[in-house]
């Protein structure tokens, strides 16, 4: 570990990895959480309740315990492990992809819940109007519902991104703390604290806080509000 002035190389590596992880997870959840939230917001079936509850469930288990179960599932004897083996894919634990999957699983409710609320707030009328203007349901979703739910997307993304940055219980368990592969900043800070390297921990925490603060600030500055004209 050669020291830079402020942060060690491995700190920097961890920060890079963190931002990548949080970014990828947020993207993936935008992709997969949005249809779930949309369905939950608009479906009239009574399946809605149970499925909505299931989506929120990962939250209630302690992260490292969830990580433990995910590890069992993804490990060579678990169902996901069987699947990856059958498909001839590298096993997921201790890889970046495994980390992404686990984090996505854990952060799903942070994406789905705010989006669902936002979609519900859009109401039926704009979609009816869009239909009379020849927009197919998918078209209307992208051009009407999504823009009107923009603040919900922002909230959901902030919560998901920040939570993925801060989360380390699942990450530590699934990732195995491998430098450059799965050692994200939260794990690195944790390690520093555990090793009583407080100066290092303070520095890295400060960097993460400042970075996050600036990111959030930028998001807020640009915060969309479709109801106000700007």
């Amino acid at each position: 570990m050669k020291g830079t002035n402020m942060l060690t190389d491995s700190d920097l590596q961890a920060i890079g990895l963190t931002v990548r992880l949080a970014g990828v997870v947020t993207m993936i959840l935008l992709l997969f959480g949005t249809p779930i939230a949309w369905w939950l917001a608009r479906a009239k079936t009574s399946w809605k309740g149970p499925i909505g509850a299931v989506v929120a469930l990962p939250l209630v288990l302690p992260p490292s315990v969830l990580g433990f179960y995910l590890l069992l599932a993804m490990g060579p004897h678990g169902p996901v492990g069987h699947l990856t083996r059958t498909l001839g894919i590298e096993p997921l634990p201790f890889t970046f992809r495994g980390l992404v999957l686990a984090s996505a699983f854990y952060s799903l409710p942070f994406m789905v819940q705010p989006l669902q609320t936002a979609f519900e707030a859009v109401g039926d009328r704009p979609l009816e109007v869009a239909a009379t203007l020849r927009a197919s349901p998918l078209d209307a979703f992208f051009t009407v519902a999504a823009p009107l739910a923009a603040p919900g997307f922002l909230t959901a993304s902030i919560l998901t991104f920040a939570h993925t940055i801060g989360e380390f219980g699942v990450v530590l368990m699934i990732g195995g703390n491998l430098p450059g592969v799965t050692r994200v900043a939260s794990v690195q800070i944790y390690d520093h604290v555990e090793a009583l390297e407080y100066t290092q921990a303070h520095r890295l925490s400060a960097v993460m806080l400042i970075f996050s603060f600036l990111t959030l600030l930028a998001l807020y500055a640009w915060r969309p509000n479709p109801k106000n004209g700007g």
Partner: protein, 367 residues
Amino acid sequence: MAAIDAHFRRDWPGFSLDVDLHLPGRGVTALFGHSGSGKSTLLRCIAGLERAPQGRLAVDSEVWQDAGRWVPTHRRPIGYVFQEASLFAHLSVMGNLRYGMKRVSDAQLVSLDHAIELLGLGHLLDRKPDRLSGGERQRVAIGRALLTQPKLLLMDEPLSALDRGAKAEILPFIEKLRDHFALPIIYISHDLAEVERLADHVVLIDQGRVVGAGPLADVQSDPASPLARSREAAVSLRGVVEAIDATFGLIAVAVAGGRLLAPAPAASVGEARRVHILASAVSLAREKPGRSSILNVLPARVVAMNPLDAVEVVAAVALGEDGEGARLLARMTRKSWEELGLAPGQNVYAQVKSVSLDAGRAEGAKN
């Protein structure tokens, strides 16, 4: 163009709709009825926004809804102006106008520039809807619907938030859509003057049921119809321009059983035009009246009378000394009716104080 066949039946808590309609596939059909009678609901069923389970809807011989068939709203070539403007809050005026337009291939009816000019939206194009006045919002909603180049236009009180000036500009345009483009329009309005000016066909709705339907002239000239009972009761007659008086900007229009002078800045001889005459503009005399500022005095015969209330009555007269011509309504006090000794079958003179004309050609011109 063929006709619109609509049959819908559905119960909501506190309200049920049960209509079976056969509407002409061209011209303007006005839906008329009390607040809460089901006009908007019917329009929503036609647009496919509301689904009546055992409904059937065929427009222009295309089936949009039937036991085995359901064309979703976005595949129905309609334009819909909602009762509340319902603009997209996240789009500017321009974005709203272009939303539907971008989604259809060609602009046969209306161009963007034309719509903007007609509706007076030029200075508002960059505004977001929350910074528009009520009337401005409604104008944008009308433009947005027209720009989808619909084959059937559904309008739910489109002009109710507009001032006279704006109405006076938009109404002729709707007439033009109806006439030049043969665009069928289903139109809800509480403004009888609007209905009488625009409609070819009227459907009277009450408590979710059709209580009367027919060509405007028939519905209007029946003194017992609800249309005849209002302050704006009127008849609309088909006429042909016979002569033009350029000095005074007047034309002479021949209607069945008579000839009327009417203000019309632009017209040409032989053209078919629609003529509106308010019941309140028609007075009756037993003897031929002397000269006054009333231009039109025509012989006619009383055919029917209906009391409006304790004080007033509405009389229907047929033009011509033989009483075979077009029918007018005349509103008067019961006192006048009795003191003049009027009765059905009697010959009278109808003084028509004012006559108004459609801006475009009457639909008859196409025949």
